[in-house]
């Protein structure tokens, strides 16, 4: 029998970016909040300091900061007809663990979505008519508009100290920025990063072929900065150890740097680490949650009653918690009924390598997670899709994230995989290769979804999440088209140009991105979504679900800026509207 604790006003499940933001916003408004974190506490000093943090094997290859799959993983398959099998080691994506979550080991590429993304279905039908939509695509409008979200994008970017150059200030196109971005109310809080040689060559070539390059918006800050919470950040020193590492310099935005210094120590907030929430206790009759049950660090089961519950774990974990708790109807791909697990999407990635001659020194180790230049000429609705047969797009970027050699040693495709020729090719190409990323959108398809696995269980004996996913034909067409555009830029750069196209079935083995999106999507009504425009569950008004699981589709950008903006938008609704008067904020 679980030990029952005294009721608290708000309980947060997970203390990464969204948990930290909600905790700060709600305690500032006078509410009492308990934050539950399944991992342990950690902070910039001493946990992320060098030289020990700069250990590629320990952190990048052996995943020292990531979720331990021996305790919890998920099962995967490409189609419903297959038997899903467990992802026995991490590969395609890397969920975090411990305080700060994946907000510690991210790269910091901080993009807004486009105006059309929030009204995708309406926009596509109005611009192209229904014929452009391939059978099975389940796109829909989000229930919130860009204009509503804009102040919260702006605030999250200020909390993170994003370094960038605006391309569209209140409708006026700005030189040097992204002309295809949605209008911003203000310039970025910090100037863009210093661009290395390779992104500079990329930008020059992209402009030559008529595209519009600009510096990637970066959460690796470029000067000393104090954020709206009063937290101080220091300038990035381009050490090249961002993604998969914690930042030793207080330079990469993270909950540790940007929120916790202003939160921990507040009497209204209690952080409990090593508390793994196993379910939200759901009163089906009353259609509300009574609290959460978790296993604490001693292995004891604890019931924490709460007036309001917010799921702030990683996106796929939030979906699993809803399924384990019986909140909402699980999605059934045969009937299309049910919403929990529906519209699971990912990111459709490809790449282009340009092998230059040995006179080029790109020094790839002089890097940062979001250091680079990009073009958005073929992203989202920046271009006309008439006659193309697909929707969506991608940004094409030349990043210089670091030169850690276990994982980065590019060689031309005709190089043997081992032996003397391989070794000499590695030495030859390490410092003279340019890599382009094609970061493509992922459209929801009725066959792609999340549910509970019937066979495999985690270390607590609970069913694992089951992922059924393959790239829909729409996204494969998109990726071909976009990869051709990246090849065009590569040819303009000059050298031996090789494309790594999106081929074959989705595989859980090679790393692609940790952008697992959808599964608990937001929308205008309970028939087609799990949460309303304020991320409030249709089936339990005192349960809110944060994170990228709310995205009805995944645009061709990284998700974190939108995750942060949605959390702040939801926090305002909780603070000003819901907590003073708990009820469904949108009529069903």
């Amino acid at each position: 029998m679980a030990r029952r604790l005294p009721e608290v006003e708000v309980v947060l499940v997970g203390m990464g970016w969204t948990g930290a933001l909600l905790a700060k916003e709600l305690t500032d408004a006078g509410h009492r909040v308990v934050g539950l974190e399944r991992g342990v506490g950690r902070q910039t000093v001493p946990d992320f300091q060098t030289p020990t943090m700069h250990d590629e094997l320990r952190y990048a290859v052996r995943h020292g900061l990531m979720q331990d799959p021996s305790r919890e993983t998920l099962t995967v398959r490409n189609f419903t007809g297959q038997t899903a099998l467990p992802m026995r080691q991490l590969g395609s994506f890397l969920p975090g663990i411990d305080l700060g979550g994946a907000g510690v080991h991210w790269n910091g590429q901080t993009w807004r979505f486009q105006l059309s993304d929030f009204v995708l279905r309406s926009h596509i039908l109005q611009r192209y008519g229904p014929d452009i939509l391939q059978d099975g695509l389940t796109i829909q409008d989000w229930g919130v508009t860009y204009d509503e979200l804009e102040p919260y994008y702006d605030r999250f970017e200020r909390i993170c100290g994003i370094a960038g150059k605006a391309g569209n200030l209140r409708g006026e196109i700005q030189p040097g920025g992204d002309p295809f971005e949605a209008p911003r109310s203000a310039e970025y809080p910090n100037p863009p990063m210093t661009q290395p040689y390779a992104p500079t060559l990329f930008a020059r070539a992209a402009a030559e072929v008529g595209m519009h390059p600009f510096p990637v918006p970066s959460a690796n800050v470029t000067r000393p900065y104090r954020n709206p919470y009063g937290c101080d950040m220091h300038a990035c020193n381009y050490c090249g150890f961002c993604e998969r590492f914690g930042c030793e310099h207080f330079a990469k935005a993270s909950p540790q740097v940007c929120v916790f210094p202003a939160l921990l120590g507040n009497d209204r907030f209690e952080l409990r680490t090593r508390c793994q929430v196993t379910r939200v206790e759901y009163d089906r009759q009353a259609r509300r949650a009574t609290g959460v049950t978790y296993i604490d660090g001693r292995g004891e089961e604890v019931f924490q009653p709460a007036g309001m519950v917010a799921l702030c774990a990683f996106s796929i974990h939030n979906v699993r918690l809803l399924l384990l708790s019986g909140i909402g109807a699980p999605y059934d791909p045969r009937t299309g009924e049910g919403n929990v697990g529906k519209n699971y999407t990912y990111q459709t990635m490809s790449g282009v390598s340009i092998f230059k001659d040995e006179s080029f020194n790109f020094n790839p180790y002089m890097g940062a997670g979001a250091l680079g230049m990009a073009v958005n000429d073929y992203n989202g609705e920046a271009f006309d899709h008439s006659g193309l047969g697909f929707i969506g797009g991608a940004y094409i970027a030349c990043y210089q994230t670091g030169g850690r050699p276990i994982e980065r040693h590019p060689v031309p495709g005709d190089t043997p995989r081992w032996g003397l020729a391989w070794k000499q090719a590695v030495a030859r190409h390490y410092n003279s290769t340019i890599s382009l990323s094609v970061h493509g959108s992922s459209m929801p398809h009725r066959g792609n979804y999340l549910d509970l696995d019937p066979t495999y269980r985690d270390s607590f004996g609970l069913p694992l999440l089951r992922m059924t996913f393959d790239f829909p034909a729409n996204d494969r067409l998109m990726s071909e088209f976009l990869t051709d555009k990246a090849v065009l830029i590569g040819n303009a750069i000059g050298g031996k140009v090789e494309a790594a196209r999106r081929q074959g079935l989705y595989s859980v083995v090679p790393y692609q991105t940790t952008h697992n999106t959808g599964g608990a999507i937001m929308g205008e009504n309970p028939r087609e979504s799990v949460v309303n425009r304020y991320l409030q569950c249709w089936d339990a008004h005192n349960v809110f679900v944060m994170g990228a699981c709310a995205f009805p589709h995944n645009p061709g950008y990284n998700p974190t800026d939108t995750v942060g903006a949605l959390a702040l938008w939801a926090a305002r609704a909780m603070r000003e509207d819901y907590l003073p008067n708990p009820r469904p904020l949108v009529d069903a």
Binding site: R223, P224, N237, H249, N361
Partner: protein, 234 residues
């Protein structure tokens, strides 16, 4: 000057891992000798501007006066400091007029001259307060969670040995010099390098005791015995 240097780099010869080179460029023939002549008083200020009067020809520290050890620092670093003294970005009553009187060529030559000197031996200093020394060592290796200060060694290398070319050696420098620089950053008298202002940002978060502790700690590190050729700049 900057453009000329960049041009030299673009035309430069790869290889030459030596720290005495301006980045990637080995010293030109005669450059070291020309640099020594500048150090001996060959600049436009004559003997009044002779580097050796304070720094010697070995570039050794003078603990009592608080003059830093400049021998064996990277030429890039030394050149950049001279450039900042001359431009007023870094101010010092002694160094600013001397640097202002140097021609670009003299500035580069004398930077190379001191860069090629062996790291002057420092034997460490006797200390009265082991607790203070230990506090400095902790700041060096781990930083301070309370103050939001990162470890010195993130940039300056283990025990402040210096990371070529732009992160200077702290080990073996006079405590008075190190403390004076940190205080100057803290008060804003010494401006950090725009836009990063890294040392200014860090020094502003350091207490007087922190400053005293790290200055003493780095001053206490003996240098000159580390193996050559493994990244320790000679």
């Amino acid at each position: 000057m900057r453009a000329a240097l960049l041009l030299a780099l673009l035309l430069g010869i790869a290889g030459g891992a030596a720290g005495e080179a301006l980045l990637g460029v080995p010293p030109q023939p005669g450059q070291v000798a020309a640099g020594r002549a500048v150090a001996a008083g060959g600049g436009q200020q004559g003997q009044a501007g002779a580097c050796f009067r304070c720094h010697g020809f070995a570039g050794a520290a003078q603990d009592a006066a608080g003059f830093p050890a400049i021998g064996g620092m990277s030429a890039e670093y030394l050149h950049e400091q001279l450039r900042r003294y001359a431009s007023g970005e870094r101010r010092n009553d002694i160094m600013s007029p001397i640097a202002s009187a140097l021609t670009p060529a003299q500035m580069r030559d004398v930077a190379v001259f001191y860069a090629v000197q062996p790291v002057p031996p420092a034997t460490g200093i006797a200390l009265a307060d082991p607790a203070l020394l230990q506090h400095g060592a902790i700041l060096s290796a781990s930083g301070s969670a309370e103050s939001g200060i990162q470890a010195c060694q993130n940039c300056h290398g283990p025990a402040g040995i210096g990371i070529w070319p732009f992160y200077p050696r702290l080990a073996g420098q006079p405590a008075a010099y190190l403390a004076a620089q940190l205080r100057a950053w803290k008060t804003g008298e010494r401006q950090g390098v725009e836009p990063w202002r890294s040392m200014q940002t860090i020094a502003q978060r350091m207490s007087d005791r922190d400053i005293e502790a790290v200055a003493l700690y780095f001053a206490s590190i003996p240098v000159g015995t580390a193996p050559r050729g493994v990244g320790v700049l000679q």
